[in-house]
């Protein structure tokens, strides 16, 4: 594995420590933006879970759609932030909306616990289907959303 080309776009949407400006210690306002966004995102996730409770042996649709929607939204957000170029986004936009809201909204731990719960309930087939379907849908959502947003931005730039 090699060091990324200097100036190359970050893979990590939260931090690119190859960018010297990002190597400085995080400022209090960045941490506050991440915390505030996390509170918003987690509250929304909790709300979805209350509206759409999954039984002990049922397919966890709330976690599934929360994760898929959050992945689509980060695709849109990152395409807007990294490709709009001309106008640099507000420095707290990514910490708040990306790291905070979408990071707090989506969850990997509940996904793993859902799988384990289905397995304990004797529903191995459903557990495997849930694990695979979430992964495929999440990756498909981030790809489709980022691609469509880039297309839209390009179309607007050409017009």
């Amino acid at each position: 594995m090699t060091r990324p080309v200097p100036g190359a776009e970050a893979i990590d949407p939260d931090v690119d420590l190859h960018v010297p400006a990002q190597r400085t210690e995080p400022q209090g306002r960045v941490l506050a933006a991440v915390a505030a966004g996390g509170a918003v995102g987690a509250s929304a996730r909790y709300g979805v879970a209350l509206l759409w409770p999954a039984g002990p042996a049922g397919f966890p649709w709330a976690t599934f759609w929360t994760n898929v929607a959050g992945c689509a939204l980060i695709g849109v957000l990152m395409a807007l932030i990294s490709e709009e170029g001309r106008r640099s986004p507000h420095p707290l936009l990514r910490p708040f909306a990306g790291t905070g809201v979408l990071g707090g909204f989506t969850t990997f731990s509940a996904y793993a616990v859902d799988f384990s719960r289905l397995l304990d309930a004797g529903r191995a087939g459903l557990a495997l289907a849930y694990a695979g379907l979430t992964l495929v849908a999440a990756l498909g959502a981030v790809w489709a959303a980022a691609s469509l947003t880039r297309l839209a931005l390009r179309g607007r730039g050409a017009g």
């Binding site: 931090v15 915390a35 987690a42 707090g104 990997f108 731990s109």
Partner: protein
């Protein structure tokens, strides 16, 4: 009240994910997103322990909301994981993208199982 417990957990979990990611990313030079990988695996282990403890009767539903839904939920992320996997694939590191997806899922599922088994026996 329940909602406040979730928020209290999340205002700690989200910045903790950000700081852990920075800490890990500053300590390696590869393009593999170890920061998110570590944070997700850690959150899965903690949530596994919590789930095992609650099932064994050692944890309350309030604790589950604070530490599970709030802290672990905000500490772990699916959106950053999927975006980082997409960027690896788009930049030509297709093997690393597939490895990240497979390893994150397998390690996450394993961490939950390990955590809940250990806690289930400890708190039984």
């Amino acid at each position: 009240m329940n909602w406040l417990l979730v928020v209290a957990g999340a205002v700690v979990g989200a910045p903790l994910r950000y700081l852990t990611d920075r800490f890990v990313q500053a300590r390696h030079d590869s393009v593999f997103p170890w920061g998110t990988f570590v944070v997700n695996a850690g959150a899965c282990l903690v949530l596994g322990v919590l789930t095992g403890a609650v099932l064994a009767g050692a944890g309350s539903s309030r604790l589950a909301l604070l530490l599970g839904t709030g802290l672990c939920g905000a500490l772990s992320t699916y959106s950053t994981f999927s975006y980082e996997t997409l960027r690896l694939a788009e930049r030509g590191w297709k093997f690393l993208a597939a490895a990240n997806a497979a390893a994150s899922v397998l390690v996450g599922l394993g961490a939950v199982t390990l955590g809940s088994q250990v806690a289930g026996q400890l708190f039984a």
